[in-house]
Symmetry: C2
DNA sequence: ACCCATTTGTGCGTATGTATA
DNA sequence: TTATACATACGCACAAATGGG
């Protein structure tokens, strides 16, 4: 369980860790990143805190999300079967 | 108490109502918009839902926030006494 | 068609800390 | 000191979508 510091918001620290993993290729484009409950287990944060991290990552275009499936690194693919 | 519909997320409906009030000049630039608890009373939403509305409005540059004071319509003024 | 597990999305309540007046 | 207001963070619950049996 990765420890977080107390001097900065927990959601921001987790955000930066995930963002760094995307940047350095740990999570390659199209690869599934940990679920909200995965973040919960790895960092000891609450569900709502994990949701906030996901929201921000998505807003900033670092991940895309498929409801019911998970969230994935990088920009969304061009399949839009509407 | 403004009623919200059930077909779309409550936080999004409130977001759009506030955004519309800023766009049409109901809340002019620099004017204080309702607090989270103000939204709670006007729309019957939870504190956390109101917070989410504020977060989005801020992220989208529609408001700025002064902790302890409130949130205000429009872009932040250029006073940054850091 | 059905159940079940996983995952995201939404929404509620609550508590504590910090900043301002 | 008190009141107001935002920021962070927790827990919980339910809905909807997905995929495997």
């Amino acid at each position: 369980m990765t420890e977080l510091r107390a001097d900065r918001p927990r959601w921001r620290q987790v955000y930066e860790i995930i963002a760094a993993r995307i940047a350095d290729g740990t999570y390659r484009r199209g690869v599934r990143i940990p679920s909200v409950r995965g973040l919960q287990e790895e960092f000891g944060i609450a569900v709502t805190t994990g949701q906030k991290v996901m929201d921000r990552l998505r807003d900033d275009g670092l991940i895309y999300t498929e409801p019911g499936l998970g969230s994935f690194a990088g920009p969304p693919p061009d399949d839009d079967p509407s």
